[in-house]
């Protein structure tokens, strides 16, 4: 074909622009073919004319098809039978899913951000519900009430006693089966299943009637058991499974509980732990000594509201009883007012309306977190919606109402936030399982986790998360949609030509970006800093061969009742502990599996006076700034824990016998109090509070004879410590035991140890007995959990910020394509074009960083806690550099696209 036979070039380019990509080639080919025929038949000029007519016809047809017919068809099918309704359809959902896939980066960022917020919201909601809104999982559990005493002055809870119990039980008619319990620790000896220390609940038989739960085996406790002080015990289902291998003949078997032998009479059903988290129930019997001094017998009291009664009526009746008791016993009862409370709320002392309100408010503010995140996501979505202004304009032109367009954008946002809710719920579920496990790990320290607490994803939590998702979708979808379908639609339609539509980013956008960067820069360093600390705490090595150690606290069985407080009885108990503990220590040390044994007494904090200067006995002693922590330890303590003496000497046996004359300090203390210079030979004394208020009684002067290095495990929280020599003659409960064993794992020695203690005296109790490495691991779980949680939250904040900056950059360039094209066509230096384009964005990021740094410094100064204060400005610098880097990285893509714009292309867009 000669060049003259080539179809007109301009017409072909017109066709190329108007046709969909997949049609360009074959339509061009077909027209080419016919054009050649027409050239031969009619001559070139007529053929060219024909070609132009065809090209225009094709362009018009295909543009009309693309812009009008296809959209009209989708609208008709989406409207279905509703004819112009605004209800979202399956098509909307499909479109929303397509948008989710089409913009993966936006989807990931938005879903991650909202998922973290929803996870936190759902987690807090679940915790709040567990504390506030649970009822006992017992028949008519909501009718079970707690009966308490509260101080008249500040309404704080005060222990109820046997006197209250008797009065309330005998006089109350609106509360039935008034019951009481108290918990004690007892050494449990099951023949053939070893020895353990367990909490035992002494409860009135009526407590089982309140629970309205029958045992699965045997019987509950009865009033007869109580009266005769029978040695009978009801056990929990779980204990029956674990300690008695679910023996069906367990009823009638005997077990040792402390100094007495008990007969098992019942097994409660699975999951039953009433009144709190109880496993062994024995009758609550009151002896003559207790009945003589009923005010000295503390009890927890509860009951069941009588049928047809309300809490208010019970409260009125109890109040009247309280007033009578106040008159009868002014010395002990005048300041007390009894009250009736929901059982589960009373357990956590969430009793006042103020406390409940505060907790609800906290939940509300945590929910607001989602709003903050959602506004961020809305910014991102707004940027995307802006690029779809043309589509929105055409839909409006085709008759879609504003509500219809907004509804569709809302559905898109809803799909996004529902995905986030799913991910968030999964995260929250995992976190709650972890929290429950943590709470159970820390049970010994926090008190038992009540049996009715189940931190799971209840239907209420799921509903709450879905509610959050809808709120999030409303913010994410509706705000940008209202913006995009506002009065500018008309203008957009006029400008519309494929990608020419414009939306404006106003001052609000600038303010949001600046605030976003500022908040990120201000908050992140604190988070990085705290996360760093938490993770360091959570991962530090114990610093000594913890796997070889068993630790426990040796105590003696507490005998309940007022006799506990009598001096004679106390001396008796002390004497018994002293002789039996010494015997137990001797037996442990002589066991072939034990490599060493050392003891420490409970540590205490005291005010400390340091002698001034090197002249002994100088008159001007100075009071030190702080208090010191004092650890009385045995002479072999340092050696057993492999703690090296870095100066002076360790304790010797004679030190303890000589009374308080010498002490050893740790390196941290030597450094912080004495600057490490001439520590040895310095003298200090403790200032105990004297009986006269405001005065102190100084103890004898003590000389520092050695400096010891703490195990590395303590390095992260450097704490000054004073060590005093503890004498075996001071053996008094609770006595800290550390046993280094030769067996591996160390815990294999636990049963033998419990047996030794039980053999010496069943009233001796080894409390908290476990491997030191296990204790160390448990101690690390919480900080590690916090550290990981903070890191996750931080990353999501960073992700959102980065995405926000990126969206802003991309948007800026997209809006100024034409300007970039013309300027580069006129020969402008690309670098100058770019710098001017990004000047505004950089100013915004810069302003944000400056504001954020100022914010950090102010908060740091105000709280005295934070990265700058703790000499860790690294985190602040890191975040500032990070935000700048993200800004620059975000600029690269849009910038390259901007410079690649052809001038002609940019011009044609107009």
């Amino acid at each position: 074909m000669t060049p003259a036979a080539e179809p007109p070039r301009l017409a072909r380019r017109l066709l190329a622009r108007a046709l969909p990509e997949d049609a360009r080639e074959y339509v061009d080919g077909d027209l080419h073919e016919v054009y050649a025929r027409r050239c031969a038949r009619d001559g070139v000029p007529r053929a060219r004319l024909w070609y132009w007519v065809e090209a225009l016809s094709f362009a018009a047809r295909f543009l009309f098809e693309r812009l009008v017919v296809e959209r009209l068809r989708s609208r008709v099918s989406s409207a279905g039978s509703r004819r112009g309704g605004i209800a979202p359809s399956v098509l909307d959902v499909r479109l929303a899913l397509r948008m989710l896939v089409k913009h993966p980066a936006l989807s990931i960022v938005s879903v991650t951000g909202m998922a973290v917020a929803i996870a936190i919201g759902a987690g807090v909601f679940s915790l709040g519900a567990a504390l506030l809104e649970t009822t006992l999982p017992l028949p008519a559990g909501d009718r079970v009430v707690a009966l308490q005493n509260a101080l008249v002055t500040n309404a704080s809870r005060t222990e109820a006693s046997l006197r209250d119990f008797v009065a309330w039980r005998d006089e109350l008619t609106s509360v039935q089966d008034v019951s009481a319990f108290t918990t004690v620790d007892r050494t449990l000896a099951v023949p053939g299943a070893g020895v353990d220390l367990v909490p035992v609940t002494r409860m009135t038989a009526s407590g089982f009637r309140v629970a309205r739960t029958a045992p699965v085996l045997g019987r509950p406790l009865l009033e007869d058991d109580e009266r005769s002080d029978a040695r009978v015990v009801v056990i929990a289902f779980e204990e029956w499974q674990r300690r008695f291998a679910a023996d069906p003949g367990v009823i009638g078997r005997h077990v040792g509980l402390g100094r007495d032998t008990y007969t098992i009479v019942g097994v409660m059903p699975e999951g039953f732990g009433f009144p709190v988290a109880d496993r062994f129930w024995v009758p609550l019997h009151f002896g003559p000594a207790e009945r003589e001094r009923p005010d000295a017998v503390p009890l927890t009291i509860f009951g069941r509201l009588a049928d047809g009664t309300t809490v208010e009526r019970a409260q009125a009746e109890l109040g009247a009883i309280g007033s009578r008791m106040a008159v009868a016993h002014p010395a002990t009862r005048e300041q007390l007012r009894p009250r009736v409370l929901s059982y589960t709320r009373a357990f956590f002392d969430f009793d006042g309306p103020d406390t409940v309100w505060t907790l609800q408010l906290f939940r509300f503010f945590v929910s607001l977190l989602l709003v903050v995140v959602a506004v961020n996501v809305a910014i991102l979505v707004y940027a995307r919606t802006a690029t779809r202004a043309g589509e929105i304009a055409v839909r409006t032109a085709l008759g879609a109402s504003r509500a219809r367009v907004v509804a569709q954008l809302f559905v898109e946002a809803l799909v996004l936030s529902l995905a986030a809710a799913l991910v968030g719920l999964a995260i929250a579920g995992g976190l709650l399982v972890k929290v429950q496990a943590l709470a159970e790990t820390y049970e010994r320290r926090l008190g038992a986790v009540p049996f009715w607490i189940d931190l799971g994803l209840s239907p209420a939590v799921v509903a709450y998360a879905l509610g959050l998702a809808v709120v999030g979708a409303a913010i994410v979808g509706v705000i940008p949609a209202l913006q995009a379908t506002g009065r500018r639609v008309q203008a957009n339609l006029q400008q519309f030509s494929g990608h020419g539509a414009r939306m404006q980013l106003g001052r609000a956008w600038t303010a949001l970006i600046v605030a976003q960067v500022a908040v990120t820069v201000a908050v992140l360093p604190f988070a990085v800093h705290s996360a760093q600390e938490a993770i360091a705490d959570g991962t530090v090595d114990a610093g000594y061969p913890a796997a070889e150690f068993l630790e426990a606290s040796l105590t003696i069985e507490r005998v309940d009742g007022p006799q506990d407080t009598s001096a004679v009885h106390r001396r008796e108990i002390e004497q018994r502990f002293h002789t039996r503990a010494a015997e137990l220590l001797r037996r442990i040390e002589s066991d072939p599996a034990v490599a060493g044994l050392t003891i420490r007494l409970p540590d205490r904090r005291e005010r400390i006076e340091v002698e001034n200067g090197a002249s002994p006995g100088a008159a001007q002693a100075r009071i030190s700034a702080g208090r010191g922590r004092i650890h009385p330890v045995a002479a072999d303590f340092f050696a057993l824990y492999d703690m090296p003496i870095v100066a002076g000497r360790a304790f010797v046996e004679a030190d303890a016998r000589a009374g308080e004359t010498v002490l050893v300090v740790n390196e941290v203390l030597a450094e912080s109090w004495f600057g490490n210079s001439a520590v040895l030979g310095r003298r200090i004394r403790f200032l105990s509070e004297s009986d006269t208020p405001g005065e102190v009684a100084p103890g004898p002067w003590l000389e520092i004879v050695g400096v010891v290095r703490d195990p590395a495990g303590h390095a992260h929280e450097p704490q000054g410590r004073f060590y005093l020599p503890a004498h075996v003659a001071e053996l008094s409960p609770p006595l800290g035991l550390a046993i280094r064993v030769r067996t591996s794992p160390a815990t294999s020695f636990v049963p033998r140890l419990r047996e030794l203690a039980a053999t010496v005296d069943p009233v001796l109790q080894l409390d908290g007995l476990m491997g030191a490495d296990e204790r160390h691991r448990q101690g690390q779980q919480f900080p590690r959990f916090i550290g990981i949680g903070m890191t996750a939250a931080m990353l999501s904040v960073l992700l959102l910020s980065a995405a926000g900056i990126y969206a802003m950059m991309a948007f800026t360039v997209a809006r100024r394509r034409r300007e970039i094209g013309i300027r580069s066509a006129l020969g402008a230096d690309p670098r100058r074009v770019l710098s001017s384009i990004f000047a505004r964005a950089s100013t915004q990021i810069g302003a944000g960083i400056v504001l954020g740094v100022i914010g950090t410094v102010i908060v740091d100064r105000a709280t005295g806690r934070g990265p700058v204060h703790d000499g860790n400005p690294f985190a602040l610098l890191l975040v500032a550099v990070l935000m700048t880097t993200i800004g620059l990285l975000a600029a690269i893509g849009p910038a390259r696209r901007g410079l690649a714009v052809q001038p002609t292309e940019a011009l044609r867009e107009e």
Binding site: E25, Y26, V27, D28, G29, D30, L31, H32
Partner: protein
Amino acid sequence: MAHQGLGDFEQMVLLAILQLRGEVYGVPIVDEIERRTGRSVSRAAVYVALRRLEEKGLVSSWMSEPTAERGGKPRRCVRVEPRGLQLLRESRAALDRMWRGLDPRLEGVR
């Protein structure tokens, strides 16, 4: 799904494809319609109709090898799918039913 009927023009395009032998693509289809109806048709309309028919699954298409006389561009060849044939038959049956008994009257008009 709503009832999927065939428009007049779509029927014509489908019938033209069936009438043709060998490689059936845009150019011969337009020629065939014009030859049989004696009217000129908008080429672009035929192409849009072909795309729509393909979207509905009534025809399928494939690309042939590019040839020099077409400026090195391939042909988009089409074929009627069974579903298209079925719809054609249904359209014809419907029309036949409508025509039934009308011939004598229409002859009178003529």
